[in-house]
């Protein structure tokens, strides 16, 4: 993302943050797109006042893997609850109204939610948003920054099981 776009986004956020505090009427949120609302989960000022985000790669998620299960890597364990940054591809969500999506290492061929025999690969990260997004760049890499959550969690509505999650506070196109 070039600097000009970043500045525009920062400027938009500065306007948008107080709007959120004042209005809460949801009109802006209904038209939200992924890149126009970079801060959707945590307060927008967090990236500036919070800690530095630690870079994380898909290949660093698990240190051990066998047919008997996966093992979180020491690096992943050490970043639990901390701010991380990871790049990947957004997989198509089950429904456009969901406030989470799945980040994958490579673009997903099959929409596992809509296909009967497909299932997700093991190395995925679930990205939690404060609201659903509508403009979805599935074919371009994106970088997500946010707080890392680890451990089994099942989404009540969809039954979707996740192990590694990021509560996103910034999403942008990867370089």
């Amino acid at each position: 993302m070039n600097k000009l776009t970043s500045r525009v986004i920062i400027a938009m956020m500065l306007i948008w943050v107080p709007l959120n505090w004042l209005g809460q009427d949801g009109t802006i949120r209904n038209e939200s797109s992924l890149f126009c609302t970079p801060a959707q989960a945590a307060p927008a000022w967090l990236p500036w006042f919070g800690e530095e985000a630690a870079p994380l790669e898909f290949s660093e998620l698990y240190s051990g893997a066998s047919a008997l299960g996966l093992e979180f890597s020491p690096k992943l364990e050490s970043l639990k609850g901390k701010k991380v940054r990871i790049s990947g591809f957004m997989a198509p969500p089950l429904k456009p109204t969901l406030n989470f999506f799945v980040l994958t290492k490579v673009p997903m061929a099959i929409c596992p939610f809509c296909s009967t025999d497909a299932d997700w690969p093991d190395d995925i990260v679930l990205i939690k948003l404060s609201e659903a997004v509508t403009a979805l760049p599935f074919d371009r890499p994106i970088t997500v920054t946010g707080q890392l959550e680890l451990g089994y969690q099942m989404d009540e509505e969809t039954g979707f099981v996740s192990l590694v999650r990021i509560v996103a506070d910034n999403i942008e196109e990867a370089n």
């Binding site: 008997l68 997989a91 061929a109 929409c111 009967t116 192990l163």
Partner: protein, 604 residues
Amino acid sequence: MYNPKMSVLCLSRCFRLVVALLVVASLMSGVTVSYAAYRAPEVPNINIMPIDRAKFLVGQKFDFAIEVKSDTPASAIEVLVNGKKAETFFGKQAVVKFDNMSTYRINEVAFPQTSKVTVAVTVKTEKGTEKRTVNYEVPADKIKKPAKNVILFVGDGMSLQARQMARILSKGITEGKYNDLLEMEKMSNLALITTSGNDSLVTDSANSASAYATGHKSTVNAMGVYADSTKDPFDDPKVENIIELVKRTRGMSAGIVSTANITDATPAAMLAHTRKRSEQNFIAQEMLNPLHRPDVILGGGSRHFLPKSVPGSKRSDERNIIEEFKELGYPIATNKTQLKQAGTPDKLLGLFQLDNMDVYVDREVTKNPAVLGKFTDQPTLMDMTKTAINVLSKNQKGFFLMVEGASIDKQLHAMDWQRATYDTIEMDKAVGIAKEFAKKNGDTLIIVVADHAHGASITGTYHEKDGKTGREAVRIYADAGWPTFADADGDGFPDNPNPDVTLAVQFANHPDYYENEKFLDVPTSPAIMADGKAIANTKRAPQGGDLKVGNIPASDPSEVHSADDVPLTAEGPGADYFKGIMDNTEVFHGIVRALGLDGRNEKK
């Protein structure tokens, strides 16, 4: 004889006379070709399951069910089997419910005698009565010298063309003559198998494997059942399958081997009953059910066997299916080393990947760490087949083994014919191992078949040696010459999957995708889903490639199954059954005939 004195006119008159005489003669002797008329398919209001023209092994158990669709609830459903009331015929009470979809059902029945069967159904509604008749067959075909064992190889999606690609890459061709044939081609019998299910021209792997396992048609995504109208994936009328039959009637051993998740459609259909193949957690736990518990289970997909608290599990409960198998005395192998160390126990569970096992090229040729990750010690299909045969053949009563080359299909879906072909060769080598075993005692029937086809054809060759690229570099007719694959080490696999002259393999159906005709370093999807539409994946041809505009609905991001008939080859006792064009349900009947199974028997 030509007579120069005869005029042309005279010749023509003679000819006409001869033709006229022939026509009269043929009419008188009845030598005319007549065609049976048929009607366009229609959905009857009375749905009888099993369907019309179903064929049963005598004594094979099934659930008999009828669904009647009517504007107002039906008031009576009368069912006659060969003129007798169905309840009397089967000796069981029917459960009948009247509604806009009225149902009549008698579970777990069987035909006690070989015969033709007529089922006449009469339904009374406010508007009057509606009738429907279906016919069944319970054949009496008996084999003189039965087989002790049957090994069924299913090359998933292994069309005629997929076999040929494997023959070219594995054996090579010199001056138009193949240097050799595949193991699966050097067999005594050949048949063509039609693949449609009872709902649709084009099948999926559950449906088609179910036909092989039960002798009955099913529906896309379903196995071991006739699909009824309810949403519940576990309530559909069942049909007894091959593993249940060999266990119940004879106490034989049974095994399933696959390079896919072992709960995937093809291995699952050998034992399970569900309308929904995606119920893989259910299928995993069904493998424990003594009615159809395989003695040997080897493949991928441990994620459906691990409790949900274990990272990597896809279960929604805390059941540890691996531990449950352990408690039943199954040694567990999770990699090739452990599989070798397992020796020949009486039963065996081997799960070598959380998901589908990796394909042969990635596992054994390139060994690309970016693809394999930590799974660097996976067995080959040959290893698994050999172990399965060693374990199962300990049972003196014989065994049934199904071996699936699963990723032939998965890679053809991804339009990666090279990966598919190496996996076809891998399965062929597994066939070779089975043939070696069969040679020893001569009492094993081996069947090699696909479950459906893919739209891939060999158009010629492809090279860029003269600077041409893309479609202009596809060499056709005389320009094709020969591909330059070579197998210097004689292991049956070409040394290089990406020689300077490769095959031009083109697909009849595809999504939008980029094609550069080259071997892909890592498996890469041709298209990805974006906003519900398949769009070409730019990662597919990083060096550049031609955009091929899709010719199937944009809702599907992969190449899809084709309705083409598929070849079956067979050898051993009972192989003579397989010839000509056969319905896919006949594969089951060929198996049970070869074994001389009788569904009325109960093992002692």
